[in-house]
Symmetry: D2
Subunit: 358 residues, 4 copies
């Protein structure tokens, strides 16, 4: 069991391999009658598609999902919602020479051991970043369900190779900002950083190298009291999904690692009330106390490691022949996957949050 | 559902409130016949108990677990292993005045909304750090089972208030080091840092304040191929448990957030073989690729926020009266919980790793 | 993983062995603030205790549960509710000679193979009927929560050794009848059958033998639309718990096996409406269509095999020595466990139904 | 959550509606490298397809599954195995007039209430018997995996409308018999009963009626010690899946309800040994003691209610207009679904048993 989650009444099961017949997802547990705008699902998925921003591969992944079940007359039926995306643009030969030569930083070797050397290695198989397309589909669906409850989410590029966007304002966020960010060529609060980020990515590509970054995500409109202590809180569910996105290696809620050098008097968020609702003046805890929402924006950020597929020759092994060798990865690869990971992180948040509300 | 996890064939269910009759844990899924040394379980738990190091409260938590089932003749029976720890040293009156006044940074308010204002608020109730005692019990049990497979784990204080211990050597670690660390007054690789750390904690206490820190954990002896892609890998399971420890707000595997400013050529761990086994020259990925172990040490670190209970007056609200007020927390509180969280983090790793191996 | 269930948001985890220190249960997922009458829990549990009806053993199981957590001021806290029952009346020597001689019809042999010959065999260990005490505790708790929603359940002895009580009227049932049945010495609709049933049990005991029977259970007050199709419907959840009761070997919903010889025109329950609500004129389907409640009483019955512990000499094997042998079971055993299984079946229904409603 | 199961390391998630674009299944947790013969999967599925035996509808369901992932070079990859079956032969107009008129015995009404009146009602939607096609696909896959472990399963028609086939010999069964049964026009041990069974079905059809029956299933080759006590034993998992098959209303293991009138001395299966292995002389317990296999054949049987779709006018309600009405179901319907349910029951057994072995 690996590629499915079961959170209370919601299940999401993802399948597929990069170069197989298709990839897809089954979402079980959505209530019946939720209106879903298919075009907006496509828009959400388009945010994950490679762009002309110079950061990503030139492959034209059309990624047109076909809904097979769970959706009629523009609404969920309540029974499992499934969608399949055909793999159309396959160039398997690009990967021909790396079949048993482990690409450093990839799961070729670990996956082969795990699956008795029978897994599909073409393009990373089930470990490919391509498998995030059905995750994003599910996140788009859950996001629309959340919006109907007044809950909005948005992820943005927090940094690429050390070039930083602004942070979200943790105590005051509006859906309008989210809409703007989603429409931008790069998902940034401060668009003026786009050029510098692109330059870093381009520099890396010129050096046959790649860069990483961070992504910040916020969810607003959630009332207090959602989530549970210990193993089934907001942090637990979000992180369980987030680490399903290849290349994510760290997650921090609220001030995250910065807490380590704060004092309690500064870290504690003072509560205040206007007599009707309770808020906190600051939101260092990222909207979560004891695994449960406080009513403040839920905020977290994640680290994305630099794309492991780089064009430089790399030391590695052929793990079947058990020989040391050098690998030169051919083919088309993103020099930075941070922009494409943005909607994946948002999708993870959407699925996690919705799972508490149905 | 909140305080239980279900990982493949292993379940761990934790119960109890700080000032109730008792706390405990049920571990279901352990194979029959695993030898368990009860004294070593107590030693593991003693690492979590308050110490005379000046960092923690003076409460004498005896925390003597009684095993009620699942253990006879020094071995597991295979059926559920349960243990109960009586709450003996309760001073409920210490908490008398904070019943509906939310302690900032705590889950009083969020838990009350979550549980219809019926939860046990005394001492934090089920949200208390005390509830990590049964977690540590479970981690001690799982740790012994792992050792019998040649797998060893250890957590240490990586930093307190910005004072740093050394990092674990990510490519070369021996059980002997782990044994040494566990016997030290403070769980440090470089013991010479103890004094400076204590000074910081003492400074904070003198200021009626508290400090946070980070904890690093390593697991060695795991062969390659353990774990699964997407939602059920090593990162997913470890983080799902780790966020069950109060005050943990971030987790990073391998280089974690440092990846964000690394280039792929540096971040990728080159594979090497001696013709028999495969290793990586560096271990930036913390022993995990695609959610699956690479055979290298599994390494992660977490951020611990400063203890929210501080003696300074704090702005907050009475969330029943819906009035702003000022809170002065009486009673005994740790100015730094990092040392006591160390075995909790190790316990989380033990439970997660063992769950993949039974 | 074996002795815990996870249904949507409700978890029940049972632990203990017949002759260990204690047995108990953790119920996680109950909402906070549900009033629970502890005396009524004891009354429910008393229905399972051995009676002076000549059917059951003379052991005096006091079975006094101690609630350790999850319950204050007469209400659930919302966090895990746990209870422990100490084992006090142990006569381990009674079982001394059967340690590796398999009692026919019992799980001694299968359990030993399962648990690497390390499980606790005294009195059946975790396989003992005694382990239904915490199940009944959980059922009592869930039953009170259901009553507060207007849902009532009752099980009764449908037959013992071929002597039949009446069936519940499947279309018209009132809580008053349930109350009456629960107060009777034997849980029967038609009390006049008690004497004949006792005679059969006594005859069996005189012959050093035992008898089986059937139990019928009804749940009323559930509105239509509860449950799910396929693997997570009312039948699935009830049967998953019911087969956790030792000696239950079959379950039938509504007409059950009688459907096999009915025609569709007779089996189909005609729908009728008074303009406001929908009912069915008959209730052959036991209140369940497609795994989902129809609003009619949920009705099922189960088969209880005759107590495997009988005083006659029996052919069997010593499965460690691998020798054929003859076993004479000493000690005290119920010649018929049907009466004591009645509250267990009702408990199973309560847990299953409540799990859909929280 | 409804149409997915999660047993230890195996997950099966089923999706689709009778008249939607397609139906399918995701199987997660299969080890990598299991050889699967696709033609034999089709043969297994063909056993579920309507036959020319006069019992079933004339619809030509081609039900050609397309494997989208998890299978290359004739073997499982270890990552999720998914298959989709396109719905091609849809005659939605046949069902046009029954949209909000509840078909008695069907889930139209209960499903509509459950899903906020948004579920797909065409042809029963997700509640259709058609949804068993992916279940059978999964069962065929699991069956091949079991065979590679020396485990064989077979279901047969035990009775139709009171006409009985022989029972399986519970202590001595060979794979050859299973092969023969699977090749027969009707899945019978005693083929001579076929004519009488057909006559009963035909009589019912002539009367615009339908008949039910029973199905018996056996699994051989399983060694002792598989399964767990209480909620996660062989009976629990098999019944949880079996009740996912529409029209199954009862399940009995071993002697099932016959136990109710047996004495312990007769019901207990005596153990015997030849010095090397342990068997039982009889197998009343259906190969299961305490939820765990005894090494004897696992045997159970289920009741199938008569097809609810009958051509006679039936009293019912329009549950939207809330009016009483009369329904005449048009279209093509099986007068007896027992033969087609046979491979479904076998599939359920295969999935449940395999789940304990991976």
């Amino acid at each position: 069991m690996s590629s499915n989650i079961h959170f209370g009444n919601l299940s999401v099961s993802i399948f597929g391999e990069s170069h197989g017949a298709g990839i897809g997802v089954v979402i079980d547990g959505l209530p019946g009658g939720i209106p879903l705008d298919f075009d907006r699902i496509l828009e959400f998925m388009a945010r994950r598609a490679p762009k002309k921003d110079g950061m990503s591969t030139n492959r034209s992944e059309k990624d047109m999902p076909e809904i097979l079940s769970g959706y009629i007359n523009g609404k969920t039926t309540g029974t499992p919602l499934s969608a399949v995306i055909r793999n159309t643009d396959q160039h398997s030969s690009d990967y021909g020479n790396i079949q048993t030569v482990a690409r450093p930083g990839h799961a070729d070797y670990t996956g082969s051991v795990r699956y008795n050397y029978a897994n599909d290695l073409r393009g990373g198989g089930h470990f490919s970043g391509r498998i995030t397309a059905p995750l994003v589909f599910a996140g788009a669906v859950c996001g629309q369900a959340l919006e109907q409850m007044g809950i909005y989410s948005c992820a943005h590029i927090l940094s690429i190779d050390g070039v930083y966007d602004e942070h979200f304002n943790p105590v005051s966020l509006e859906p309008d900002l989210f809409d703007s960010i989603k429409k931008r060529e790069m998902a940034l609060i401060d668009e003026s950083k786009a050029e510098e980020m692109k330059r870093h990515v381009n520099d890396a590509r010129m050096s046959l190298d790649s860069v990483g970054g961070t992504i910040e995500c916020a969810v607003i409109g959630i009332k207090a009291g959602i989530g549970s202590p210990m193993f089934d809180g907001i942090e637990n569910r979000i992180s369980q999904i987030v680490f399903g996105i290849p290349a994510i290696k760290a997650i921090a809620f609220g001030k995250g690692f910065d807490f380590a050098e704060m004092r309690g008097s500064k870290a504690n968020d003072p509560f205040v009330t206007d007599g009707e609702t309770v808020k906190t003046e600051t939101n260092n805890n990222g909207g979560i106390l004891g695994g449960i929402t406080s009513g403040m924006p839920v905020i977290f950020n994640v680290a994305v490691k630099p794309t492991p597929s780089i064009a430089q020759p790399q030391k590695t092994v052929d793990y079947v022949k058990m020989e040391n060798t050098t690998l030169e990865i051919k083919g088309r690869h993103d020099a930075c996957i941070v922009p494409r990971a943005v909607p994946c992180v948002e999708a993870a948040a959407n699925i996690a949050i919705l799972s508490f509300l149905i």
